[in-house]
């Protein structure tokens, strides 16, 4: 069975937030709700300073704490590794948001718009009432992955079957694919490079890999 993961080559990332904006478009999220975003992190003291850009979002853990704490079984794991939320079951309790080590979840109780009290035509067209007062987060653009099953497209290779953030990335930072397929693009990348995963010590087996150098 496939396990879909994402990789981020930190040598390439410039923190431009194109992925953030693309995700906002593709998933129709309201202002401030960024399922994908890039952190701008500074370390050291002047003049010995490093500044790093780190894409974050749901890590689609193999052992997801958010799922374990969910009292309504709304959060679940698909067979292909994608951690998803059934909005019909979610009661918006927020346990999952607290349990997530990656602060990847959002709950919105009141509609907010880009400009004032009224939605733009796009916001109205993209509004999904099911998302009110429930937990939401990145789902690896699951509809596109599902489309691949129907059409024979390859997630991470064919744009139609690839998450919007990966498609949009202007520096070739993000890649997506099947970790279980040794010939997939992400498997190849991980075979050739050194990498780490965020908070790996927590044992969640995250599905988001940070590449930082060649092997």
């Amino acid at each position: 069975m496939a396990r879909y993961i994402m990789t981020a080559d930190l040598r390439r990332c410039i923190g431009c937030q194109t992925c953030t904006a693309a995700c906002r478009h593709a998933n129709g999220t309201p202002p401030g709700v960024q399922w994908r975003k890039v952190l701008d992190i500074e370390s050291g003291e002047f003049p010995d300073v490093r500044r790093s850009f780190v894409p974050v979002g749901c890590m689609h853990c193999a052992d997801p704490p958010c799922m374990h704490v969910c009292p309504s079984t709304a959060t679940f794991q698909r067979k292909d590794g994608i951690v998803d939320i059934d909005y019909d079951l979610c009661i918006g309790c927020g346990y999952c948001a607290v349990a997530c080590p990656y602060q990847a979840r959002y709950i919105v109780h009141k509609r907010e718009f880009a400009y004032g009290e009224r939605p733009t035509e796009q916001e109205e067209a993209r509004f999904d009432p099911k998302r009110m007062s429930v937990a939401m987060k990145c789902n690896f653009c699951k509809d596109r992955v599902d489309l691949a099953k129907e059409t024979g497209l390859t997630p991470g290779v064919d744009p139609e079957a690839t998450p919007a953030c990966v498609n949009s990335c202007i520096a070739g930072v993000l890649a997506f694919g099947d970790r279980e397929d040794p010939d997939s693009n992400v498997s190849q990348l991980l075979a050739e490079h050194q990498f780490f995963r965020m908070h790996e010590e927590l044992g969640t087996d995250p599905g988001f890999y940070y590449i930082f150098d060649k092997k």
């Binding site: 923190g15 953030t20 478009h25 593709a26 960024q34 880009a114 520096a171 070739g172």
Partner: protein, 913 residues
Amino acid sequence: MSAAAAKSVRKVPQYCYQCVAGPDLLTVKVEDGVATEVEPNFAACGVHPGAGKCCVKAYGIIQKTYSPNRLLQPMKRSNPKKGRDEDPGFVPISWGEAFDLIGAKMKEVRARGLRNEYGYPRVAASFGGGGIPTYYMGTFPAFLSAWGPVDFSYGSGQGVSCTHSEHLYGELWHRAFTVCPDTPSCNYVLSFGANVEASGGVVGAWRHGEARSRGMKRVQIEPHLSVTGAASAEWVPIKPKTDAAFLFGLVHVLVCEMPREKLDVFFLKHHTGSPYLIGPNGFYLRDPATKKPLLWDLKRNAAVSFDTPDTEPALDGTFTVDAIEVGADEDQWTHRGLAAQTAFGKLVERVRPYTPEWAEKTCDVREGTVRRLAHEFVEQAQVGATVEIDGELLPFRPVSIQFGRTVNNGWGAYECCYGRTLLACLVGALEVPGGTLGTTVRLNRPATTRQASVKINPDGFMHYPMNPTDKAHWAAKPKVRNAHDTMVPLSASSPWSTALGPTHFSWMFQKESPDENWPKVTPPDVWFCYRTNPSISFWDTRELAKRIAEFPFVVAFAYHRDETNHMADVLLPESTDFESTQLIRIGGSKFIEQFWDHEGFALRQPAVAPAGETRDFTDIATELADRAGLLREYNEALNRGAAGVPLSNHEWDFRLDAEKKHDAATIWDHACRAASAELTEGRETDGLDWFKEKGLRTRPISRLSWYLFPELRRQGIRFEMPFQERLYRVGVELGRRLHERGIHWWDVQLEEYGGLPKVLDFPGIWEKETVKQGGAGALEKYPFWLITARSMQYAWGSNVGVQLMNEVGGNVRGHKGVLINRRRAQELGIEDGDQVEVSSYVGTTRGPAVLAEGIRPDTLLMMGQFDHWATPYAKDLNKPSMNSLIPMSIALTDSTGSSADIVRVGVKKLEAA
């Protein structure tokens, strides 16, 4: 995903040209008539050098389209008083009334004469930087062409907000309106504040990402750790405005400390002016008969003309020659038995004092760092290596130097541009694979390709179209208000030249003439502005807004209200990016990092219905031409190519009937057909419908077009390095002309013209002016240097009213306020988020403090320009702008007419309200 499945879904090809690093190619998804999602144009992946992607700014266009703050119908001013504090009292009018108003005014102006009593065009226009608005203004260029003389010299912030010196000297030395590394094959880049990861667009980000991934090392030398610095291998926190000293320190190491064989001696001898002999008056020594410059031939042991075949030129040494010197205004000196040095020898003498130890005192960078980087640069240059490109064997030198703003404008920028070009020559890395390249020409002509503009001059260098400085031809009376043709020979005389002069002079001289003999600068009778907001983007913006208020009739093509169209008499709302039609050229090589292996055309088209009563800019231009009585001239301009492509040649003819009014679809259909024919040598003639479906059409080109060296080698032309005889001559002549007229306020600038540059105390120029204007104790009152940095979210975008940009920009440090060194802030009692006031002797601005380690303790940084007071949404952002703090000043203007976005400031914490 929408809640309910859309009935109709389509993806419409578009382009985004919100910044000079574009165009980006994209598609917009339209669901039931509503634009919902921007995506890269995956169909362009194979031809676009950024993999067909589009940058973050493109994702803001949908909000821009549907913003409730848009102007949706024409408006006219009801309050005749103009000023920041005056309510314009805009009232809605019909398009008919708007055209009546403007048409009547244009006819009235035309009847009075195209130029006013002082010789300045009665009509002026300002458009946003870098030619960006051209990609959105449809056929308006044809209207301007039909009109006649238009004064573009007010600009929109050029000179301080562009890489000004690079434009002028870059074009002089290597046809480089902008300069960049040959990133796909470069291995080592010294980047002085070049924030390419923010301002290089998709192509810059893509190429540099690829390069870093394969191991290219970039050293970022800048006072503040920028986005680009973050993505670099090393950060060197240099003191602001001391880059020239650093570069000359590097030059010193190469020519005074390294063995000569480490350099590309062959390149220097045969492809530069290094072996030319220099006379005692600062001009080339020349053959008395032919007046050709001389070099010393080691084979013949004699002085010979530079173009003598089969020579072995001496690079160093002193030689005895009989020769003449030809100076300014044909002054001539005859020498016999003169001991003469080579230009290279003169260079070595000049830079001998500029040791890394000397540079350390100026730049606050350890001498060891300067020396190490000099050695890395030379080692990485691989002198002697070659590579074959499309069958031609070329030098391969994978090292480059890049500059950002503030480095390459204002005092010190000439010396920086010189140092960069010279360093490239020293290792043979100028205009060859891997090295330092120019991107495009805007001052030289023809502008079709860089190579097409290359012609040899009598001294063996490239011809350059200097504005004349000889007695018979010097423009004693300026043709436009900023007097670029009078004061700045390097600005040339292309359509871009007026905006590349000292644009602040137009505003300054409108307030006060520089002297009593200067032709009075009066406001234009009519001023058009589009996609520009000089009330925010210029310098000393509060003062500038007062000058705009003096303009009697302002026509603003307006997306929403802003600080400039606050002074407008008529507002014309155009259909925006996804609502209107335009065809543009793509490919070849262009600004920043745009190097393609293809060339062609791309279309922008209506994906959604125009909002309100907005109109396609092309239809507006056509109506204006008709109302001004210029329809025939307008159509003829279109036929000549004013819409980006000539509509006929000897093989095809898609000309428009010059006597008729044509709608936008018809005009662009003709343009599309001509474009198809041009790309296929007449085989295909597909029109607008074809482009609407496909989005773009291209054909492959040779990568040899990226490099200028092959053309120079073919024509036997040398790079004009290291000696600047031509600039020296022009400067002497200009000085004479000005002094003959009693003009002495440009004397300091005239000193910049010389055979070999000197490194002055450039920060001291700003310090001196601070004391002069701010009084005794000003340096203690204003202890910080204030600088700025590009932002990918905003640079050039005219998008401050877009919520999404503010949201995602907030993820990038520095957007929210005033960046200050953490330790220094703590000394001042300032904590992160505190409201602070930053002041210069010009004005004040306010915003929250952002504490960081990645900035020098003597430096503050403000990204963007955000002290809006009229622009909806932006005016509520509570962000600062350095533009309110920068003076417009002749003393801070260099000889090219540019200044720099840097100023001495003080900062204090504001008490909570």
